[in-house]
Symmetry: C2
Subunit: 474 residues, 2 copies
């Protein structure tokens, strides 16, 4: 066995090398190379008894390196008391990919709701936080083209329809079409990613500003920028994919053609899934993250149905008033392989639902509609009409609990009947089981329906059945 | 308005003061005082437009200071890229208390499942991780004594009974009884907390080692230690509380008497809740956390019913083979006030369920019993008997999805019927809706029951009703 202390020292030094390169904004390739060395050292350290676990626990920072492109600056890097470098997870996709690789899972379909962290300027009013929930759905496995991809879009369509958030559009594009487009427009290879990040801003900035950034900041030629400008104004459906396959420039790119053929296939499945009313093939959709390899998509809520769908005119993008992206995702076939020592690939496609943004929209709607939201699942309050009946209330609530009924008592020795009834009105508890001295003598309980104020005496032995009958009706 | 830059500078300096005191292990009071100054400075900075949010966002480290006693060393302190000091949450109780104070909530009952972090040595085999889930249930509000406390114990009893984890005991004690006991045994005031932490080790160490730590490490007199030793060997039920109220030494302490009276009251409610079979009043239960003010409890699983309950002999603690604590909690009436600028108190009682430990026990049991766990909720697989029926499968699965049925197709153009049936067997999908050329011609679907292999032709128009009928039966 190697000398652990020696390796640990080497890991420390190598860690510094990686940090230095990153602070100097070295190239991704260079950083990746040094990170690989670091991982190799850690794996060697892991030769001991508890090695595998150590390895898994100590890589949160390295795990996230080189996956997010220009968004990497928003990763929360942290140093703990021992000087160990950590990061908080930026999204659920990279941890999912790592999980598949570590557990050698080659196919799975699952959803996951959990928190992610971005070191961004928080803006509460716009629902942008440093810590927030995401909900991800992913399908991993080697399958026939575009079938799981279409299911992801069906799911987004179903969620946004069921939640009644108003009209929406799902924009679809393909990383290969973007790359092919950049190639035929004359963007140098090493500028693909950075130009892609700029295109990604088209949902917030007008074309003129995006063009300016491409030319002035990123040094792209004016001709290339203008050619890109023509393409990214296009949107439509399967017909647009067909037209672009015939486009003299675009058809020069093998990559673009592969992407366009898949978009055609995707739309044929989307037709069967009955969701083409909301899906648009939109060449301006870029999504900045490095890990996408194929189809990409993003769902936006639109105001009062003014956004053009794939069936509408193809130059109507100015009419579309986006109120923000609420879901996005795509295909990432290379990510799992990056975590596998033998680079075994597991193709994946998935979607992140912006549940906090959706929740805040639903909250606003409920407020605007002045809807009364029921704040409890409790079905019955066990109440008393006179003093000194706490023990009787506790006895009865125990009976109800043991029968699986959601019941509650007020935590007071001698609460007033009125305040017990008020509690039900306020929180929406539908039934009250009232005990009084007379009821106890007669072996009954007075069952009161809060909404109608109707009261009926129910014999103690029938109470559970009666409550179950009444609550299952509701 | 004050000069922001100036205040920010003062905050930096004050932050350093706090960090220095902590690194020097200064007294809790001294640290609290300096933290208060820091908070005050931050509040002043918060005079601006976005101030309140800044305040809330930047206090995660200060929030946790001085709440956990000797366990504080396990808090994950972190510094981000900007040098800001953060901490990961150690439990769900302190964040809950802060939430109540910040939102001025004076009564609430809720549960919460989320991750917490401990900078401890991980031990996978014993289910001890640095990041793990907790599930907390808490009742906050000014109520009559011991009613919500008893409900918390009822809930722990219900959870552990329903999950069928084997026999268990819930140990109960009261912080006031412990403090009173320390006082009458001659423990100096300033040693209460540290001696309490040592008593807390009695579930892992024999009395002799605990005594040694008290005397040799913590400088307690041998007489005091021996007197404590007598008390902490006691356990029983309401009768023990009554006996101790008559105890010549214990009855000297007002605090102890208040605690003992409440234990009596608690047991009277627990009798009504029908849970005294599993609850033991145990004077050795300490729980190290600083924030408890009244009743405390801890649930442990025991092997094959060898642990003594309150009704059994009171000196049988050696027989009890604990397989680890799975839930714990207590009353913390002062914690919310610590986060309120005006120190307004909200009494709280709650319990943390160790869901990861429980889950790993359930997993082991399922493995031992070789139970087949159904890994999917899917009710129907839409399958095809011949080639070239992908479109028909997608059409049918869309119909089923739109009707709210949990359905799936294999993501293959031309899967073999056998592999589709195997998928159902493996994952536990109970029904298969099979399409073939003949079925399409006849307007039917062949519905196959996986378990019995029974097959029946169902007309397309009746299919949804038929599937719903069959799946609601199951």
């Amino acid at each position: 066995m190697e000398d652990k202390a020696q390796i640990q020292e080497a890991i420390k030094v190598q860690g510094e090398v990686v940090r230095k390169l990153k602070s100097e904004k070295a190239s991704k390739e260079q950083i990746d190379e040094e990170v690989a060395k670091l991982l190799e050292l850690k794996a060697r350290l892991g030769g001991g008894d508890d090695g595998k676990h150590q390895f898994v626990l100590k890589t949160p920072k390295e795990t996230l390196t080189g996956k997010y492109g220009e968004d990497s600056k928003l990763i929360y890097d942290l140093k703990d008391q021992g000087g160990e470098l950590l990061s908080l997870r930026y999204d659920l996709t990279v941890p999912f990919a790592r999980y598949l690789a570590m557990n050698k899972i080659t196919n799975i379909k699952r959803y996951h709701i959990a928190k992610v962290y971005r070191r961004d300027n928080p803006a509460m009013t716009r629902g942008r936080y440093r810590e927030f929930y995401q909900c991800d759905f992913d399908i991993a496995g080697q399958y026939d083209a575009m079938i799981p991809d279409a299911e992801c879009l069906k799911i987004v369509h179903e969620i946004l329809s069921e939640l009644e958030l108003g009209d929406f559009r799902i924009k679809v594009n393909d990383r290969r079409i973007l790359d092919g487009m950049f190639a035929v427009c004359g963007v140098p290879d090493d500028k693909f990613r950075t130009i892609c990040s700029t295109v990604d801003k088209l949902d917030k900035l007008p074309w003129q500003e995006v063009r300016k950034e491409m030319v002035d900041e990123k040094g792209l030629s004016e001709e290339a920028a203008d050619q890109i400008g023509e393409y990214v104004s296009l949107h439509g459906g399967m017909d647009l994919a067909e037209r672009l396959l015939q486009d003299p420039r675009m058809s020069q790119s093998k990559q673009a053609c592969a992407g366009l053929s898949d978009i055609k296939l995707l739309f044929s499945y989307l037709q069967l899934f009955q969701v083409t009313d909301k899906v648009v093939f939109d060449l301006s959709l870029a999504r900045g993250l490095d890990y996408y390899t194929g189809v990409i998509y993003e769902a936006v809520l639109t105001q009062a149905g003014v956004a053009p769908a794939s069936n509408d005119a193809q130059n109507g993008s100015e009419e579309s008033v986006s109120v923000g992206s609420v879901a996005g995702g795509g295909r990432y076939d290379g990510l799992v392989g990056m975590f596998d020592p033998k680079n075994r690939k597991v193709p994946c496609v998935g979607v992140s639902i912006g549940i906090e943004r959706i929740f805040s929209i639903m909250e606003q709607r409920a407020e605007a509609a002045a809807e009364k939201v029921r704040t409890t699942e409790v079905q019955v309050l066990v109440a008393s009409a006179q003093k000194n009946l706490l023990e009787e209330r506790l006895r009865l609530v125990t009976e109800l609990w043991n029968a699986g009924i959601k019941a509650e008592v007020m935590y007071k020795k001698n609460p007033k009947l009125l305040s017990q009834l008020q509690l039900c009105e306020e929180t929406g508890i539908p039934l009250v089981a009232i005990l009084g001295e007379q009821e106890l003598k007669d072996g009954v309980v007075k069952l009161r329906v809060v909404a109608s104020r109707e009261e009926v005496d129910v014999s103690r032995s029938d109470l559970i059945t009666e409550i179950k009958r009444r609550t299952s009706e509701a």
